[in-house]
C-alpha cells in the first residue's frame, strides 16, 4: 500500500510541476518566476562586503558567543509552539484530508494506520522543501554544514509534524470522549502542563534577578543559564535537544545531537500510532467508523459568540460590513485575543514603574517599539478580514445595491480597527517603557513631556498608515485579482513568491508616494508654528499628516470603486 501512496504523492508533485511550467506562458507567472529566481540568486550569491555564499568566520564566531542563550531561547520558542498546538484549535489541520483524498481513500479498504502513514509521507515533501528554503536563507559556509542544516531542519519539521498530528488526535479524543479521552491522553498532557509550570515558576523566581541586571547581554546570559539548568533545564530538554541539531556548528556536534532527535522522532511516531490503538482494541469496527469520521475534513470548528455590537436596522453600509468582518474575526480568531494583551500591558506598566535603569526594561522597551513597527507595517498584510477575504464572495457582493467605493471602505474598517487598537496598546507600552528617565525634576518633565508628545503623535499617525496600507492591499486585490490570495488558502512556488515580491514592492512604493504629501503639509505646519512660537511642535503636524493620509485613502477608495465595478468575477482563479 505504501507504494500506492508514494505513487499518488509523486504523481501529484509531477503534475503540479507540469501545471506550473505550462502556466509560465502567461506573462504574470513568467514575471513572477523571473523576480523569484532573481531574488534567490541575490540571496544566495550576493552579500555586502564582497564575500560570497556563506556566513563569514567573524559572523560565526560572534554567533558562537551567543550559542548557549540562542539554543535556550530557541528551545523556549519551540516549546511555546508545541504548547500552543495543544490549546489552539487550528492545529487539527495536521490530519486534514482534501476532498479528493476523502473521495478516493476513505471508501477504499485501508486501515487508519495506513491513512496516517499516507499523511506522513505527503508531509515529507513540504518538510523537505521548507528545510531547503530555510537552509538557503541560513547560508551555511560549506556543503557539509549545508547538509547538516538541511537534514537537521527536516528532522525538526518531521518531529513537529508528527507531534501536531498526535496533538490533533488527542484533542479530538478529548473532545469526543471527555473523561475517557483524558484517561487515554493523560501522559502527554501531564508532561506539557508540568513542563509549562516548571518554566513559568523558573521565570517568576528569577524575574527580580533578571530585572536588576544592567544590560541586555547580561539578561540574555542569565536567561540562558536559568533555562538550561535545574528543573527548567529538564523541562526544556526535549526541545533543546531538537534545536541543537540544525544549530550544530560542526559535524561532531551534529552526530552527538542526532540520537536524541531520532529518539524523540520515534517516541512521537509511537505516540501517534498508539493514540488510536486503544480505540481499535476496544471496538475495531466502531473505531474504524470513528477514525474515518475523525480524519474527514470538517469545517473549522466555529463557536457562535455574541456579535461585536448590535447592527441597527438602518444606517451606513460601511458599518454593516464592519460588523460582518468583526464577526469573522471573532468567530475564527476570537476577540478575546485582544483581552489577552491586557496582562501584557499591565506587565509592561508594572515593570516600568517597578524597575528603572535595568537591562530587562531596555529589552522590553525595544520589544514594544518593535511591536509598534510590526503591527503598523506588517499588520495590514497579516490581518485580512477585508475584501481580500471576501474575494471568494465577489459574485454575491456584486449583487448588493451598494456603491463599490462604500463597499471597499466598509471592508477595510474591521482590520483597521483591530490593528489600530493593537498599535495603540504597543505605543502606550513604549511610552511607559522607553528610555531612561533623568533623575532631576526638570529633566524628568522634559523627557516625560517628549515621550507623551511623541506617544500622542504616534497614536495619531498609526491608524493613518494602517488605513493607507489596507487600502493599497485591497486595491491590489481589486486591480490584480488573479494575484491576490483568496480566502485562507495560499499558493506556493518561486513564481508565486516572485509575484508577492512584486506586489510588496508596489505596496511600499505606493505607501511612500502617499506619505509624501502628508509629510510636506505637516512640515509646513510645523515650520509655521515654529516661526510663530519658537517651539517645534509634534502633535499638530502629526494630526495634519494623519488627516491628509486619511483623505488620500478616501479618494483612493472612490477610484478603486470604479475599478471594482469593472472587475470580472471570472478573473479570480482558485489557488492550488
Amino acid at each position: 500500500m505504501t507504494r500506492a501512496f508514494v505513487y499518488l504523492t509523486v504523481c501529484g508533485l509531477v503534475n503540479r510541476m507540469r501545471v506550473r511550467v505550462r502556466r509560465l506562458r502567461e506573462p504574470r507567472y513568467l514575471a513572477g518566476l523571473t523576480v523569484g529566481v532573481l531574488y534567490f540568486y541575490f540571496v544566495l550569491f550576493s552579500r555586502p562586503g564582497g564575500s560570497r555564499g556563506h556566513v563569514s568566520a567573524a559572523g560565526i564566531k560572534a554567533l558562537a558567543g551567543f550559542a548557549g542563550p540562542l539554543i535556550a531561547l530557541a528551545s523556549v520558542v519551540l516549546f511555546v509552539v508545541v504548547a500552543i498546538a495543544w490549546v489552539w484549535p487550528s492545529s487539527s489541520k495536521a490530519i486534514a484530508f482534501t476532498r479528493a483524498e476523502v473521495q478516493f481513500l476513505f471508501p477504499a479498504p485501508l486501515t487508519r494506520h495506513q491513512l496516517l502513514h499516507y499523511k506522513l509521507i505527503r508531509s515529507q515533501t513540504a518538510s523537505l522543501l521548507g528545510s531547503l528554503i530555510l537552509t538557503v536563507f541560513v547560508r551555511p559556509g560549506t556543503f557539509i554544514s549545508a547538509w547538516t542544516v538541511i537534514t537537521g531542519i527536516w528532522l525538526v519539521f518531521g518531529i513537529l509534524n508528527l507531534h501536531f498530528t498526535g496533538v490533533a488526535l488527542a484533542r479530538e479524543s478529548l473532545t469526543e470522549h471527555g473523561v475517557s479521552g483524558l484517561r487515554r491522553q493523560w501522559l502527554p498532557i501531564t508532561v506539557i502542563v508540568a513542563a509549562a509550570g516548571v518554566i513559568a515558576m523558573t521565570l517568576i523566581r528569577d524575574g527580580p534577578r533578571l530585572s536588576s541586571l544592567a544590560t541586555g547581554r547580561q539578561v540574555l546570559g542569565e536567561l540562558g543559564r536559568a533555562l538550561t539548568t535545574g528543573a527548567a533545564g529538564w523541562a526544556l530538554w526535549p526541545t533543546r535537544a531538537i534545536v541543537r541539531l540544525p544549530l550544530a556548528t560542526s559535524t561532531v556536534e551534529y552526530w552527538r545531537a542526532l540520537p536524541a532527535v531520532l529518539g524523540l522522532l520515534a517516541l512521537n511516531y509511537i505516540w501517534v500510532m498508539r493514540s488510536d490503538a486503544a480505540f481499535e482494541e476496544a471496538s475495531a469496527e466502531q473505531s474504524e467508523k470513528v477514525v474515518r469520521g475523525r480524519l474527514a475534513p470538517r469545517p473549522a470548528r466555529v463557536t457562535v459568540v455574541s456579535t461585536p455590537f448590535s447592527l441597527a436596522p438602518r444606517g451606513g453600509v460601511e458599518t454593516a460590513i464592519l460588523w460582518k468582518n468583526l464577526i469573522l474575526l471573532g468567530r475564527y480568531a476570537s476577540l478575546r485575543t485582544l483581552w489577552r494583551l491586557v496582562p501584557l500591558v499591565i506587565f509592561f506598566a508594572a515593570v516600568a514603574s517597578g524597575s528603572r535603569r535595568t537591562g530587562l526594561i531596555s529589552i522590553l522597551s525595544l520589544m514594544a517599539l518593535g511591536g509598534v513597527g510590526l503591527i503598523v507595517l506588517l499588520g495590514p498584510q497579516i490581518v485580512r478580514n477585508d475584501l481580500r477575504q471576501d474575494l471568494g464572495h465577489l459574485a454575491l457582493l456584486k449583487t448588493w445595491p451598494v456603491r463599490s467605493a462604500a463597499l471597499i471602505r466598509g471592508e477595510v474598517l474591521a482590520p483597521a480597527a483591530v490593528l489600530t487598537g493593537l498599535a495603540w496598546v504597543f505605543v502606550i507600552a513604549s511610552v511607559l517603557l522607553v528610555t531612561r528617565v533623568p533623575s532631576n525634576a526638570a529633566g524628568l518633565a522634559t523627557v516625560v513631556l517628549n515621550r507623551v508628545s511623541y506617544g500622542i503623535a504616534a497614536l495619531l499617525i498609526a491608524p493613518a498608515i494602517v488605513v493607507v496600507q489596507l487600502i493599497i492591499q485591497n486595491g491590489l486585490a481589486v486591480l490584480f485579482p488573479a494575484w491576490a490570495v483568496i480566502g485562507a488558502t495560499r499558493s506556493r512556488g518561486v513564481d508565486v513568491m516572485g509575484q508577492r515580491l512584486l506586489m510588496q514592492a508596489g505596496i511600499w512604493l505606493t505607501l511612500l508616494v502617499s506619505i509624501v504629501p502628508a509629510v510636506l503639509m505637516a512640515g509646513v505646519l510645523g515650520f509655521v508654528i515654529y516661526l510663530a512660537t519658537g517651539v517645534l511642535p509634534i502633535i499638530a503636524p502629526a494630526a495634519l499628516g494623519s488627516a491628509v493620509m486619511l483623505a488620500e485613502a478616501f479618494l483612493a477608495t472612490e477610484a478603486l470603486g470604479r475599478a471594482l465595478d469593472r472587475t470580472d468575477v471570472g478573473s479570480l482563479e482558485p489557488t492550488d
Partner: protein, 244 residues
C-alpha cells in the same frame, strides 16, 4: 420588469451570449432553459450586475444595471445554483446583514415569516457549516426574498432540496409571480419549468432559439401535443442529434 436589449457577453474570443433580447413583465414566471454551455448563467450574471455586458443593456424596473446599478440592484434578487453564504455568519445574521444592505428596516417579523415559509425555523443561530446543502440554499433564498424584490432570478433553485422542500420552493416561486414580481427560473429540470413557468425561453450557443408559452413553443417546433422535453430536444438538436 426585466428588459434585456441586444445583450452580448464575450470571453476572449468566445461569445457566450449573442444579441439576446427579451422582456419579463410583472407577474410573469419565465423559464430559461438550454443545453450545457448555452449561456444561461452568463445571461443571469449580466442581469444582476455580477458581470458587465459586452454589448447591449439590461434594465430592472427601469434602472440600467450598469449606469444606475444601485437602484437596479435594489429591485432584484439572484439565487445562484451554489448558495454563497458567509461561513462565519449565522442564519439570522445573514438576514440582518441583508436587511441592512437592502435598507429593509426592522426585519424581525418578516424574518420569522420567511424562515417559517422556508422551513428554517429553529435554525436562526446555526452557522452554514452545520446546515445541509438544501438548507443553505433556503437561507440564500430567504436573503433574496427579504427585500421584496420586483425581479427574481433563480438558477437551479431545486438543487439539494428534499421532496417537501421542492414542493415549498415551487409554491414560493409561483406565489412571488402572482404577487407581481418578474421571475426568471433557469433549470435543467424541464418538468419543473413546464409546471410553474408562464413562458419559456430556450437559448443555445448564446442565441435565443425559442420564446413563448407552451402552445407557442409547440407551434414553433411544429410538435403539437409534445411535452417540453421533446420540444427542447427538437429545437436544440444539431444535425438531428441533441446538442451536448
Amino acid at each position: 420588469m426585466i428588459t434585456v436589449t441586444h445583450l452580448s457577453k464575450v470571453y476572449g474570443s468566445f461569445k457566450a451570449v449573442d444579441d439576446l433580447s427579451f422582456i419579463v413583465g410583472p407577474g410573469e414566471v419565465v423559464g430559461l432553459i438550454g443545453p450545457n454551455g448555452a449561456g444561461k448563467t452568463s445571461t443571469l450574471r449580466c442581469l444582476v450586475g455580477i458581470q458587465a455586458p459586452s454589448a447591449g443593456s439590461v434594465t430592472i424596473d427601469g434602472h440600467d444595471i450598469v449606469t444606475d446599478s444601485v437602484a437596479a440592484k435594489q429591485q432584484v434578487a439572484f439565487m445562484a445554483d451554489e448558495p454563497n453564504l458567509f461561513e462565519y455568519l449565522t442564519v439570522m445574521e445573514h438576514l440582518r446583514l441583508t436587511a441592512r444592505i437592502y435598507r429593509v428596516g426592522d426585519i424581525e417579523d418578516k424574518a420569522r415569516t420567511l424562515l417559517q415559509e422556508l422551513q428554517l425555523t429553529g435554525k436562526e443561530k446555526s452557522l452554514p457549516s452545520v446546515l445541509s446543502r438544501g438548507m443553505k440554499q433556503k437561507v440564500a433564498i430567504a436573503c433574496g426574498l427579504l427585500h421584496d424584490p420586483k425581479a427574481l432570478l433563480f438558477d437551479e433553485p431545486l438543487t439539494g432540496l428534499d421532496p417537501l422542500g421542492i414542493r415549498h420552493m415551487k409554491e414560493t416561486i409561483v406565489r412571488r409571480g402572482l404577487a407581481g414580481a418578474a421571475v426568471i427560473v433557469s433549470s435543467h429540470l424541464l418538468h419543473l419549468v413546464e409546471e410553474i413557468c408562464t413562458r419559456i425561453l430556450i437559448i443555445d450557443r448564446g442565441v435565443k432559439v425559442a420564446d413563448g408559452t407552451m402552445a407557442d413553443l409547440e407551434a414553433h417546433a411544429e410538435a403539437a401535443g409534445s411535452n417540453l422535453e421533446q420540444i427542447f430536444l427538437k429545437v436544440t438538436s444539431r444535425d438531428g442529434s441533441p446538442s451536448a
